[in-house]
């Protein structure tokens, strides 16, 4: 368990490789154009949470439409849909669900999970003083902000924002279906955010490979870092594919090329709309794992932290996550089962899709066995972690239906799919992000969020999310299709009015409950109470044990020397020697006092 200490010469070299710089003094360098990974993490957090509110509001508009079609939207209607008397029209509706999906995935969950936690945690958890490329990190954020502005600008154009769905399938997303400037801005935003993600990903991958503290071997990395690192690898490999596809689509829209146009709209031959789907989903399916791997990672640390028990079969989870990462690009065809693909190809994708359930099950069962015979602390981060487990479990299990071509003949493009991916990639990644925020808030801001408000927020979120997305699963099971402005045009869906209305009420409660979090966030941030201390949760990883809260500009006074894995809890030897049930990753186990040693010898 214990390593031989690193020699003094080696120590000096390690320190010299990452010298301590004086923090910048000017306001702009310190808070705005900062190259400090912790400040950039906060910038991503603010940008992400703000857009989470935008995306959430759009979701409420969709829910209003399904509960009360053709009725004026209260409060917001008069501001946003004044021309139609507060009522959402079909053309507006398609922009609402398109931008809801895009914003939530690219501009809300991605910046919080990857932009904020990736930036904040990677250097601190591996024992580095900053990212490998601090300036690239800054560029990544400002490019990201540009892409967010492009999305906002799209709402202000004459024909409104993009309306071709977040998947942006051509020919609908070309001038054939969406002639407005809004769609062009949306596709540009995808391209620009792709550049931002690629820059961030290169930085993360390099930092984890090159800048781990001495002793921080791959098999001692906290699972959060494994999740973020694998996500960064997927981002670096597949986001450029999306970016290039978006570029081709922009050429189709604005320069008369025809990469994705076919049929009667095409002049002289044309291209292939299905090509877009291949390019999109070879990114799009890994994207699901891009969002879920950091969530798995956060759970992999928070569950053992609050069960006060080492993670069960750490290596098994690591390899399972690696296998998922590899397989993630080999299953994307299940999004295209209905496009008329060659049966053999479809069956291959089905096989891989079913196989990817095996490593996912290893991850989940390891969580279960981590909790088994643990000594569970029911703090707010733990509640959110357990809820993540629950929603991811439900989402994963419902995925079994959709992996199969024959069940997809019925379920494809229904609300069942919507419920499934909201449980997995929306609910699980959102609640995992909340887990992370409640857990690392003391480290990021130096203060602890209020527990009672946190628990109230938890119940609204957990029950709300479960009921809303269960409602979607039920509606889809009964055949209700997605993306319908007025589902009740169809006789076979008319029996689902009540279900849709109830689901909407739960959604409104879920949305309202989030303001408890907003209140808690600002109250804690600007209030005086709750100074967190160095290690308020009593856990083991470097950011808690080797530095103060919040950490200084250079993170660590001395680069820590890691001597053990990330989850050393409940070790009887540690308890005997320190009186604690945990020991930090870089903490030397103290020798027994002389008397005790003598007693032990007999």
């Amino acid at each position: 368990m214990e390593d031989a200490a690193v020699s003094t010469t080696a120590r000096a070299l390690i320190e010299a490789a990452q010298p301590i710089h004086a923090p910048p003094t000017s306001f702009w360098r310190r808070y705005v154009f900062s190259i400090d990974h912790k400040v950039i993490a906060k910038q991503f957090l603010w940008a992400g949470l703000l857009f989470l509110l935008v995306g959430g509001t759009l979701a409420m508009l969709i829910r209003w439409q399904w509960a009360f079609p053709y009725r004026p939207v209260p409060l917001l209607g008069r501001i946003f849909f004044a021309k139609s008397g507060g009522v959402i029209g079909p053309a507006t509706y398609q922009q609402i669900f398109t931008t809801h999906g895009l914003i939530m995935i690219f501009f809300a969950v991605t910046p919080v999970l990857i932009g904020c936690f990736g930036n904040f945690l990677i250097p601190l958890m591996i024992g580095a003083r900053d990212m490998a490329f601090p300036k690239l990190n800054m560029y990544s954020f400002w490019t990201f902000l540009l892409s967010q502005l492009l999305v906002l600008a799209s709402f202000l154009t004459d024909l409104g924002s993009g309306g071709a769905g977040w998947t942006t399938y051509p020919p609908l997303s070309t001038n054939v279906g969406m002639p407005g400037l809004g769609q062009t801005l949306i596709v540009s935003a995808i391209f620009v955010t792709g550049i931002s993600s690629t820059m961030g990903a290169i930085n993360y991958v390099t930092t984890v490979i090159r800048m781990r503290a001495p002793g921080m071997t791959y098999m001692r990395l906290p699972l959060s870092i494994w999740g973020l690192w694998l996500t960064a690898i997927l981002n670096a490999l597949f986001v450029p594919v999306l970016g290039m596809a978006a570029l081709l689509l922009l050429l189709d829209r604005n320069f008369g090329t025809q990469f994705f146009v076919a049929g009667a709209s095409a002049v002289r031959g044309g291209g292939d709309p299905i090509l877009w789907q291949h390019l999109f989903w070879i990114f799009g399916h890994p994207e699901v794992y891009i969002l879920i791997l950091p969530a798995w990672g956060i759970l992999g640390d928070v569950l053992p932290f609050f069960a006060r028990k080492p993670h069960h079969w750490y290596k098994g989870t690591v390899w399972a996550m690696v296998i998922v990462t590899v397989l993630s690009a080999m299953v994307y065809g299940h999004h295209m089962f209905m496009t008329g693909m060659t049966p053999l190809l479809g069956e291959g994708f089905m096989l891989f899709t079913l196989l990817i359930s095996a490593p996912s099950m290893v991850v989940v069962l390891n969580w279960v066995l981590t909790l088994w015979r643990g000594s569970v602390r029911w703090d707010t981060p733990m509640l959110f972690a357990l809820a993540t487990m629950f929603v991811f479990g439900v989402g994963g299990l419902t995925g079994l239906f959709l992996a199969d071509i024959s069940m997809d003949l019925y379920l494809h493009d229904t609300m069942f799919v919507v419920g499934h991916f909201h449980f997995t990639m929306a609910a699980a990644s959102f609640i995992a992000a909340m887990t992370g925020i409640y857990f690392w808030f003391p480290k990021i801001f130096g203060k602890k969020l209020d527990e009672r408000l946190g628990k109230a927020h938890f119940w609204f979120t957990f029950l709300g999310i479960t009921l809303v997305f269960a409602g979607q699963l039920l509606a889809g099971y009964a055949g209700q299709q997605r993306r319908l402005f007025d589902p009740f045009q169809y006789t076979f869906i008319q029996g689902l009015r009540g279900l849709n209305r109830w689901t909407s009420f739960f959604a409104f409660a879920l949305f309202a409950g989030q303001f408890i979090f907003v209140w808690n966030f600002f109250k804690t941030l600007f209030g005086k109470a709750n100074p967190a201390g160095e290690n308020p949760w009593g856990v083991t990883t470097l950011e808690w044990t080797e530095t103060v809260s919040p950490p200084p500009f250079h993170n660590f006074e001395h680069i820590p020397e890691v001597v053990r894995g990330p989850h050393e809890f409940a070790n009887p030897e540690v308890l005997r020697r320190t009186g604690r049930d945990y020991i930090g990753q870089a903490e030397q186990l103290p020798d027994l006092a002389g008397a005790e040693l003598a007693a032990a010898k007999g």
């Binding site: 609908l172 709209s265 079969w313 008329g340 069962l365 279960v368 199969d404 099971y477 009964a478 006789t491």
Partner: protein
């Protein structure tokens, strides 16, 4: 003829096809399987939470050979008993029924229809008495497809503008209509009545209105309608109306 009926609201809509039960059975099997998995895992956790409270220290283990075997055993069990079962059944059903267009077409009395989807309706074309598509006796309808009960129906799908998806929830089948290519769909209706054709792929602002009616008629009624419609089509044929001549030569399964 009755208008499409309302469904119960919850649960699968009525299945009015000969092969839909294959999908329903798989859905019910999967549902049962995931409920069992969910209950076992949830019960394990809840039992652990109640039995081992925070006042006692946690068990110190990083996983033993025994506990890792439990994980691998459970994964193997699910993989073979559930995933394996789904894979084999799906393969069989797709090969024998849902994607076996040659077999459906070879059945005596099988009906062939060409469907062109466009924003926002379904145009259907029958070959007419001469059995050839793109000839003056073709029967052409809009948002109104009629088929006889009991025989396989084979549809070839095309789209002129954007991607659509022909969804027949009561028959448990759907298929995208993609500009530039021709795709296939087959089903075999069992119960006469009117059912809905829905567009399952977002295709623009009025996507929600892209609704058609599929009428399943008793054999004699279908023959009667088909003969009359063929005669009407010949009388109404206009060789100069190129817009109406969108039919293509029937393809054989690749």
């Amino acid at each position: 003829m009755m208008a499409p009926l309302r469904e119960h609201g919850y649960g699968l809509p009525r299945d009015v096809s000969y092969d839909g039960f294959r999908i329903d059975e798989l859905i019910h099997f999967t549902l049962a399987a995931i409920v069992v998995i969910f209950v076992v895992v949830a019960a394990t956790l809840i039992w652990s939470f109640i039995r081992y409270r925070r006042d006692r220290p946690a068990l110190y283990t990083h996983g033993t050979r025994g506990s890792i075997s439990v994980v691998l055993g459970a994964v193997a069990l699910v993989l073979f008993a559930i995933d394996g079962n789904l894979f084999v059944h799906t393969l069989h059903d797709m090969h024998e029924y849902f994607w076996n267009f040659a077999r459906a077409e070879a059945a005596p009395g099988a009906v062939r229809i060409e469907v062109t989807a466009h924003q926002w309706s379904w145009e259907a074309r029958y070959a007419g008495p001469d059995g050839k598509f793109g000839t003056p006796d073709d029967v052409v309808t809009t948002d109104d497809i009629r088929v006889p009960v009991g025989v396989p129906v084979v549809v070839q799908l095309a789209s002129t503008d954007v991607i659509h998806s022909m969804n027949l929830p009561n028959f448990r089948v759907k298929q995208d209509a993609v500009p530039g290519t021709i795709t296939w769909l087959t089903f075999r209706p069992k119960v006469p009545g009117e059912y809905e054709i829905a567009c399952a792929q977002h295709c623009g602002a009025n996507h929600y209105k892209m609704r058609g009616i599929l009428a399943v008629l008793p054999q004699d009624q279908f023959r009667e309608w088909y003969a009359a419609a063929g005669a009407d089509a010949r009388r109404a044929y206009d060789p100069d109306d190129s817009e109406a001549h969108w039919g293509w030569e029937w393809r054989t399964q690749p």
